[in-house]
């Protein structure tokens, strides 16, 4: 067994050294992305609390125009998506691809750091512009026009070495299972991002179809960027930590290709019955429901893999986050299907349930998987172990409860809003009455974001300590159980 240092094995030793060298080569860019991402995440969740409070109590913090809901909400989502999401995803992609391909990052490290710095500066400008009232009013693309070419260039700086690592890799059987997704995300993000930005910023006079393109962009970015990175991380870390091989290579293959084929077809169903050609929203609705197939295949595969291995979920921080992230994947698929199908979508259209989909997929699924990845990756890069079991536990539970609350409350609120709006009995009600009726749900959303902010304080603090090299000096991993006996069961180490 390779974890036994008492029996020196030259091959194994060489293997370990090679892995350590790979980790060392990507250390700078990956830690840079994680740390900055964590700062944006902190900001995003705080803005989420403020935006939710503003929706209930518009007079909160006075009448300052910079702090109105219309500016806070886009700032909150943009910080979440571009500040945290894409940035953390790039870090995870870079590390996993380096490890999977067995390739060190050769050269260009300063370019990666520069691209990272530019990414952060650009987003800072973009979000400040949104707060100053210069928003483009295009959902998820609220940051001003000048932002997107810079972001694209920075992304490509990362995508290129990742794709090149893949190109040079020796690909044994089963190599593709997680690698597919990482490689796909490298190519899909530029495609989606260029298409949406060119269409929305450069083509004049789009009219109603512009709204449809924007809805497509949001769904495609979630399904073809955030979802692949999350699934790729889950496919990599679940066997890595449990020591149990992925149950079915065939299911993995089918799950990937069905996602690749269906992911780009959905979105326009947001405007079902609206002023778009009916077939566009119809195709979107069909794909939105069909996406339950890739979601189901991946969920089934993870279920078969982890069956009987749930004890390590309790112990390993990585597995705990990944496992719950992977649980949220089917949930996000279900929410998407509910929003998409005409049958239920007629009521959920234009309600809070669309926010539920964005949050469950970007936070509940993607971010939880990335947290798991970070808990695995960072000790290998910083050379010390996570400091505190309690910080990790709190991060986990406050996140789970917060996300769960937001999803359930937004879905219920969405259903109630939609049914009320469609009910002829309510047609003589003013719109404000509907807004007031949904207030309790928004209050719970504010509370949930506050819980998540609290959990992120701990995550950020913990990560900063680790990056500063102030973690635990030990050769034993930080596990969430058996913490009373630090040295126990080194062979059973799950992290």
């Amino acid at each position: 067994m390779q974890t036994t240092p008492a029996t020196p094995d030259t091959d194994l030793q060489a293997d370990n050294l090679r892995r350590a060298a790979i980790d060392k080569s990507v250390k700078g860019p990956v830690l840079f992305l994680f740390t900055n991402g964590a700062f944006w995440l902190m900001l995003s969740t705080l803005l989420g609390v403020l935006a939710a409070i503003k929706l209930v109590e518009p007079e909160f913090l006075g009448n300052c125009p910079y702090l109105t809901y219309g500016r806070l909400q886009p700032a909150h989502i943009n910080a979440l998506v571009y500040g945290w999401g894409v940035q953390a995803a790039l870090g995870v992609m870079l590390w996993i691809m380096a490890r999977r391909s067995g390739q060190e990052l050769k050269g260009g490290k300063s370019l990666l750091i520069t691209a990272g710095v530019f990414w952060n500066i650009t987003i800072t400008f973009g979000i400040v512009s949104v707060i100053m009232g210069k928003s483009t009013s295009i959902e998820w693309l609220e940051m001003p026009k000048f932002v997107w070419p810079v972001l694209l260039a920075c992304f490509l700086c990362y995508a290129w070495p990742i794709a090149r690592m893949f190109g040079r890799a020796f690909r044994p059987e089963g190599f593709m299972v997680s690698t597919w997704y990482i490689l796909g995300a490298c190519f899909w993000f530029p495609w989606i991002f260029i298409t949406a930005n060119v269409a929305l910023h450069c083509l004049p006079g789009l009219g109603a179809i512009g709204a449809g393109i924007d809805a497509w962009y949001i769904h495609a970015l979630i399904l073809l960027f955030f979802v692949p990175v999350g699934v790729g991380a889950a496919y990599y870390f679940i066997p890595k930590v449990t020591g149990q091989p992925i149950a079915s290579a065939q299911l993995a293959s089918a799950g990937f290709w069905s996602l690749a084929i269906l992911g780009g077809w959905t979105g326009m169903q947001k405007y079902m019955g609206g002023p778009l050609p009916a077939w566009m929203s119809s195709v979107g609705a069909c794909a939105g429901v069909l996406l339950l197939i890739p979601v189901g295949l991946v969920g089934l595969n993870h279920h078969l893999t982890t069956l009987g291995k749930h004890s390590s979920v309790a112990a390993s921080p990585t597995l705990r986050f990944i496992f719950f992230g992977a649980l949220f994947y089917p949930v996000s698929g279900l929410v998407l299907a509910l929003n998409s199908a005409f049958w239920t979508g007629a009521n959920l259209q234009f309600t809070q349930s669309w926010y539920a989909f964005q949050v469950v997929s970007v936070y509940g699924f993607f971010s939880m998987c990335v947290f798991g990845a970070i808990y695995y990756i960072v000790p290998r890069l910083s050379g010390c172990e996570w400091l505190s079991v309690r910080l990790i536990r709190n991060h986990f539970w406050f996140s789970v409860y917060g996300i769960g609350t937001i999803i359930i409350m937004s879905l219920v609120a969405g259903w109630q809003q939609g049914v009320d709006l469609n009910d002829p009995e309510h047609w003589d009600q003013t719109f404000m009455n509907h807004v007031i009726n949904s207030r309790p749900y928004v209050v719970s959303r504010a509370v949930a974001w506050a819980l998540i902010s609290f959990s992120n304080c701990m995550f950020l603090l913990h990560l900063l300590l680790m990056v500063a090299g102030l973690g635990r000096r030990s050769s034993a991993p930080t596990l969430l159980e058996h913490d009373h006996d630090d040295q126990a069961l080194p062979h059973e180490a799950h992290a």
Partner: protein, 239 residues
Amino acid sequence: MSAPAHPDSTDLDRLHSAVKREKEDLAPESQPAPLWAMFLLMLVAIIAGGQLGPMTGGWSFNVSNPFATAGGGDPRPGGAGAGDALDPFALAMKKGASGYAVCGGCHQGNGGGLPGQFPPLAKSEFVLGGTERLIRIVQHGLTGPITVNGQGFNTPGGMMPFGAAMSSQDLANVLTFVRNSWGNEGSMITKEMVQKVRDEEKRASQWTAADLAPFAEKNVPGDIPAGPGATAAAAPAAK
């Protein structure tokens, strides 16, 4: 961003401990997938297909109503664009049929009424006679004794007025339906005709049969859209 060098950073064993305790990458297995899961996914595909079939607007770039077909309007009663698909008479009959639900409570679904209680509408001279009298009865209500098809009726309270509760369009649709069902054949009654009567007569009390006698053979003037509703107009006059 990088970790500062520490006094013990030469301790390679500890520094590499995370790497060393790692489990190796494993090739995936080929476990069979359970059959029930495949059936579940088929069910998903069927539901998804349901989003496509009738909702695509005939794959036309010009149709944004998901319920419409490329060839015509919304097939649902009262749906948007329905008027394009149906001629005015057919539309009035279709909408009138659903509006008749209100009348059917007394006059019955077959228009036969109830002997001794509610007068019939089928073959009734009040229905097939002058449109002016018919409109006035429904608009303002009717009370007192009345003879229909040779049978006498004196319903307590009479017939309630519907003018305040229904739009002139709805009223016109129902009357057109009544005049052209159960073997009845009569000219179409349009929205404009009902409106004309409404504007002329503002009474608050119900009519009696005697009050209405002057209007018995009077038709409200007005254009009838071309179609079966207009050609049927000749039929009662010929009788």
